[in-house]
Symmetry: C2
Subunit: 152 residues, 2 copies
């Protein structure tokens, strides 16, 4: 079974477990994110569904579906880009770590990595110094991927 199918079936499982439904439309949106190299905007997902499935989903519904997928921890929102990505760890069993996203400023390619406990502790300590408590931090860092670096 390839990565895409694995992710889809893991998503099914996740929803079954939480007693929610992974409907056709929700699957289509998730599939768009899984198949894409880049993070996609809600409106790009509207286009994807039109092109791939000849299905017209209103933007409103896409936003709702994205909210649902985020609540199931299947999708992340990149707030710096106003775009969405499938969680890279859908197929993992272990608890999700605090996610960190590296976003290529050139090609928009995104890598999701975990943050080590010690790094989080450092961030927490620094935050505390100025009177803040981290809640559910998520790091988004703009960088350049090696593919794009090599091109220049």
């Amino acid at each position: 079974m390839n990565q895409y199918d694995k992710a889809m079936s893991a998503a099914e499982q996740q929803c079954a477990q939480s007693g929610s439904r992974l409907t056709e439309k929700r699957k289509h949106i998730l599939s768009g994110l899984l198949k894409s190299e880049k993070a996609l905007s809600a409106y790009e997902l509207v286009d994807f569904c039109k092109n791939e499935y000849n299905e017209s989903i209103p933007a409103m519904s896409v936003y709702r579906i994205l909210d649902f997928l985020q609540s199931e921890r299947l999708v992340h929102k990149l707030s710096t880009a106003n775009k969405y990505v499938a969680c890279s760890h859908i197929t993992c069993k272990h608890e999700h770590e605090v996610p960190q996203f590296l976003i290529c400023s050139e090609c928009q390619h995104v890598e999701e990595i975990g943050i080590s406990k010690s790094l989080i502790e450092t961030l927490q300590k620094n935050a505390k110094k100025v009177g803040f408590e981290l809640v559910s931090p998520q790091l988004e860092i703009n960088a350049i991927c090696h593919t794009c670096l090599d091109k220049t």
Copy 2:
């Protein structure tokens, strides 16, 4: 001289040094950010100029002025919030560090702190592992400030 005046005069100096002009309108926008507890959107700055100076600046101009102020390193954009803040270190002489912003999810209060060399190195190393080079990273972390924590 109070903090506000210090910041303004440091901004003047900075612009003089780089051979650019800190016009009235640019000063007004910067003053809005300096006086505000929170990060402000471009449109909130339009309102500020109307209220404070009875001056109607089109949104377009505010965006241009914000671009200018950012290029002079007097202002930062918080991409997660689509809002803008005055740099906390306008009055410092030393080189600007990579900035990190703690943003209160409740009251929108923002604290800017520097990131230690060692923390940056760690981030850099982690990025490299997945094929990315940091360029000019900026961390934005959503958290809760103690004032808001105490309220609940």
